[in-house]
């Protein structure tokens, strides 16, 4: 053994095979085992120093809480540790590739975070006099200008709070337009089977019946089927373009023509706008309404599941029905039309939510736009598409592309036919990717492809990182085909937890911690 002069070993011992043993504490090196805040005995603690308050006014007698609430507190050092320990159990785009198809996990510039925290944006009230927030309204106006210019559409409703909320906004505008034209009987929405679940859910939510459109062999909308299903009962079609198979709808102009000829509107799900931004304007394709996920194309952080933002661009025909608030600009400056029915919003369908939308996201998205510029955004689309095609090209001999012919757009879709006979499923493969340090791709979506694996690398991955990812997938594919099923069936082995029992969670729902200790759940 090699030692220094006080007897401290300076080289590792020859490896002994103790890697698999359980630790005594449950912690593993840098990874701490962390209890729930309710288990840290903080019932009398607080991490916020506040002066004592006087007793409440006697007006509130009988209206006060009499029972304990049941909330623990933590001192600041304890709170910081609690959340830092938890954070280390998360994968993140800042750590490694996060190729969730359709989710667009790209780098989130920190400048945008800094800008969103300027007090002039973060510390202004939505209802303070408009004369005191002219900069905020101007930012919204500029963001609107960029969105309209990039999409080639004449109007935009900024207020929807996420993509699905944008879909709702678009369909409500369509519904209002039909009703205004005496076409309220149109109650059907057509959407391809490959659509995001939000499309049929939104349509059904506003009282429309959803009819599926068939897909062609090459992953696009079947024009014949569309034509057959269009008619006087159809209010709108909802088509994602580029679609959820990662393909551009070649016949999109014809789709729009057929739709309009049938008196229906074309709602485009713009979740994948990042593939074409700066290169194609949806307005040139005949789209009537399209939401833009600012948290996808314009890189506002996904934050573990939101907040997002889903502005909707609208055609001339639909613009009059856009929800309030509505931004106007005249000689006196910028102002908001806040009530449907007021001048400037006579035919607005109503209000989507309180206040004016996701300002914090507007600031980040606008900073992102300014940073990239028109040229940079075009490069964003090109690099996103290039990266996806590169992944597809380098994996096509070991995995099975769902649509091998022709290029894909910003995401590469594989099916599970290449796993046939290996005993390994898409889920197993995904879990083995976790062991290799990558977040799995989107799995089992879109529904039109068996065992789907949808890989969206985004433009913010370097070639080196892509190669590392590709080599890992090739090695895993090789292992699956070589019969090394154990590597997959039990995976992940190296994550903070092993595979979780989702069936048990649904069968015996425990949705909160309870003060009276419950028996530990046991796997069934």
């Amino acid at each position: 053994m090699s030692m220094n002069n006080v007897g401290r070993p300076t080289r590792p011992e020859t490896a002994n095979d103790a890697g698999g043993h359980e630790t005594l504490t449950g912690g593993r090196g840098l990874l701490q085992d962390e209890a729930l805040i309710f288990e840290l005995n903080g019932w009398t603690k607080t991490g916020v120093d506040l002066p004592d308050a006087a007793a409440p006014s006697s007006d509130l007698a009988g209206l006060l809480r009499s029972e304990p609430i049941g909330l623990p507190g933590l001192s600041e050092p304890e709170a910081v540790r609690h959340y830092v320990r938890l954070s280390q159990k998360n994968h993140a785009i800042d750590l490694a590739l996060y190729p969730l198809g359709s989710c667009t996990m790209k780098h989130n510039p920190r400048l945008n975070e800094k800008m969103a925290r300027l007090p002039g944006f973060s510390d202004i009230h939505p209802l303070q006099p408009q004369s005191t927030v002219q900069g905020a309204l101007q930012l919204m106006d500029r963001l609107a200008h960029w969105l309209k210019t990039l999409t080639g559409m004449p109007a935009v409703a900024l207020s929807p709070k996420a993509g699905a909320h944008g879909e709702l906004c678009g369909l409500l505008a369509i519904r209002a337009a039909h009703e205004a034209a005496g076409n309220g009987h149109r109650k059907t929405v057509l959407a391809p089977t490959s659509a995001h679940g939000t499309n049929p859910a939104t349509a059904a939510f506003v009282g429309y019946t959803v009819v599926e459109i068939a897909q062609t062999e090459d992953g696009r909308v079947d024009l014949k089927d569309l034509e057959a299903k269009l008619g006087d009962h159809v209010a709108a079609i909802m088509v994602t373009n580029p679609n959820t198979c990662g393909l551009f709808e070649r016949d999109v102009v014809e789709i729009a023509r057929l739709t309009h000829a049938a008196g229906a509107y074309f709602y485009c799900d713009g979740a994948n706008f990042n593939a074409i931004v700066g290169r194609v304007r949806p307005g040139d394709l005949g789209v009537d309404a399209m939401h833009i996920n600012l948290h996808k194309t314009f890189s506002t952080p996904h934050g573990g599941g939101g907040p997002g933002a889903g502005p909707v661009v609208l055609s001339e025909a639909l613009a009059p029905f856009a929800p309030t608030p509505w931004l106007v600009h005249d000689a006196g400056g910028f102002s908001l039309v806040e009530h449907a029915g007021e001048a400037g919003a006579e035919t607005a369908f109503g209000r989507m939510s309180a206040f004016h939308g996701q300002m914090g996201m507007y600031v980040r998205a606008y900073a992102y736009m300014l940073s990239h510029g028109a040229d940079g955004l075009r490069q964003v689309a090109e690099d996103a598409v290039l990266n996806a095609n590169y992944v597809k090209a380098r994996l096509k001999d070991v995995m099975s592309p769902a649509f091998p012919d022709g290029p894909c757009m910003h995401e590469a879709l594989f099916d599970d036919s290449w796993l046939e006979g290996t005993g390994v499923t898409t889920l197993d493969f995904a879990k083995a990717m976790i062991d290799e340090g990558f977040h799995p791709m989107t799995m089992y979506f879109p529904l039109v492809v068996h065992g789907a694996m949808l890989i969206e690398p985004t433009e913010t991955e370097s070639k080196q990182e892509l190669d590392r990812f590709i080599e890992a997938l090739r090695a895993l594919a090789g292992a699956a085909k070589a019969g090394d099923a154990e590597r997959f069936k039990g995976a992940p082995f190296h994550a903070p937890l092993r595979r979780l029992d989702e069936t048990l969670a649904a069968r015996k729902p425990r949705l909160r911690w309870k003060p009276v200790a419950e028996a530990p759940l046991a796997a069934e």
């Binding site: 509130l60 507190g73 830092v84 510390d123 939510f205």
Partner: protein, 448 residues
């Protein structure tokens, strides 16, 4: 371009591997008529310094709340958020992750959501809470839709104290789904008036406490009346700090409690992003909208958390889903949860007490100004005041003198005939000198 790692050499090499000549070959499926050969007519890329200059110039054109006396509320409140909150939500692992679809590498987010759900359930006095919705107003609309599903009835009765923007969000969704809405006339202290409007078709009654005028109401009687008619009671709260002082919706018999959670952990941000709190009785859990996080075990029997009961949701049920919601308000929920964990029950009760105390001081000061009448009988940290003349004009005048006095009710509902009603709020951030400054200014303005 600092955010794009590919070099021209990389691009050329990758095109070669793909087997195409140029990037245009990857866009061949785009119809020729829609291909653009040049960038659109917008500025070129800009360095960090230039972007920062432009953004800062825009930010400077806004009068931030912290710059001087500030008394705005009406659904968005200015509270002090501990520095720890903003530090932690900017950690890469929370900021740059997504919905926890792969639970083995998302236990951080999932455990936070489980803790958040428990905190929200405790605060509202309800049995279960979800992992957040966009904000309070969309939460209220979702609650009405949920009541429609649970009761299979198609009428929602709303009190005249519900925030008009919430009424708007509810009407938008309800009318689209064929649910009729009946809203009582705007009234400062008449939540009970909904009782007379409950009938056999009523799916739910929506009340708010503290209501938009700040009035605090014990809604127990309304709950009893709703339940007697087979309807659900939805209790809306726009100021979550009030939970620290007042009876919870659960204590008063609510079936669904909805709140705006912005006050805890989240800044004003000009109205968004905020975080919707949504809690209900356990028996309705399968009709709930939004994500739910639940406890389970892993293959080794260790406790862990997953998204659960997803058969309610759009990605599984599609047109049969309980809601179309996908992305919610995860990072704002995290901010809420961290702030709540720092406060604890001890801190929250103190914070709530301080808010109430500041509002009482503001009330006493305003009541002493000739011509100003306090309209709200019982309040937490916000109340309505009748001002001499038009409230919107008064607010503009005061803004030009450096004080943001409050929110004219006409800004929320222009048709209520309450042009002289102003909503004013005070929080722990309100200084005594701000109140003095305001009353001196009012005396001067009124005196002119």
């Amino acid at each position: 371009m600092r955010y794009l790692p590919l070099t021209p050499e990389d691009r050329a090499e990758m095109l070669g591997v793909i087997g195409v000549k140029s990037i245009d070959d990857l866009f061949v499926d785009v119809p020729a008529s829609a291909r653009r050969d040049a960038p659109v007519d917008l500025p070129r890329f800009a360095g960090e310094l230039d972007v920062e200059r432009e953004m800062t110039a825009l930010a400077r054109r806004n009068r931030s709340a912290g710059e001087g006396p500030f008394f705005c509320g009406a659904g968005a409140y200015r509270h002090h958020v501990p520095a720890t909150v903003d530090h932690i939500i900017q950690r890469s692992e929370f900021l740059t992750s997504y919905t926890p679809y792969q639970p083995e590498i998302a236990q951080g987010t999932l455990q936070v959501l489980f803790e958040f759900q428990t905190q929200v359930a405790a605060l509202t006095g309800m049995e279960v809470a979800n992992a957040s919705l966009y904000d309070g107003s969309t939460g209220a609309a979702e609650a009405v839709m949920m009541a429609h599903r649970v009761t299979r009835r198609s009428k929602a009765v709303m009190s005249g104290g519900v925030h008009p923007h919430y009424v708007g969000a509810i009407e938008t969704l309800a009318h689209a789904a064929g649910v009729e809405t009946a809203r009582m006339p705007a009234a400062i202290d008449a939540e009970d008036a909904v009782i007379a409007a409950i009938d056999a078709d009523t799916a739910c009654v929506v009340v708010q406490t503290p209501n938009v005028f700040g009035t605090v109401t014990d809604v127990t009687k309304i709950a009893e009346a709703a339940h007697a008619a087979g309807a659900l009671l939805i209790v809306v709260t726009t100021e979550a700090v009030s939970y620290g002082l007042l009876k919870s919706p659960g204590e008063m018999g609510a079936d669904i409690a909805v709140a705006e959670g912005q006050s805890i952990g989240n800044g004003l941000n000009f109205g968004g992003p905020y975080v919707g709190l949504f809690a209900c009785k356990e028996k309705f859990v399968r009709q709930m909208p939004g994500r739910l996080c639940g406890e389970t075990v892993d293959a080794d029997g260790k406790r862990g958390f997953v998204l659960t009961l997803s058969t309610r949701e759009q990605h599984i049920r599609r047109d049969k889903a309980t809601s179309n919601i996908c992305t919610n308000s995860g990072l704002c929920a995290l901010a809420f949860s961290i702030h709540m964990s720092l406060l604890g029950e001890v801190g929250l009760r103190k914070l709530a007490g301080l808010n109430h105390q500041k509002a009482l001081a503001l009330r006493d000061a305003l009541a002493a100004v000739p011509g100003y009448e306090i309209l709200t009988p019982r309040f937490f940290n916000e109340f309505a005041v009748r001002v001499p003349g038009n409230a919107a004009e008064l607010v503009e005048t005061l803004a030009s003198h450096g004080a943001l006095f409050g929110v004219p009710f006409s800004r929320l509902d222009a048709s209520a005939g309450m042009d002289d009603v102003l909503l004013v709020a005070a929080t722990e951030t309100t200084l005594d000198v701000d109140i003095t400054f305001l009353t001196k200014l009012l005396t001067k303005v009124v005196g002119q």
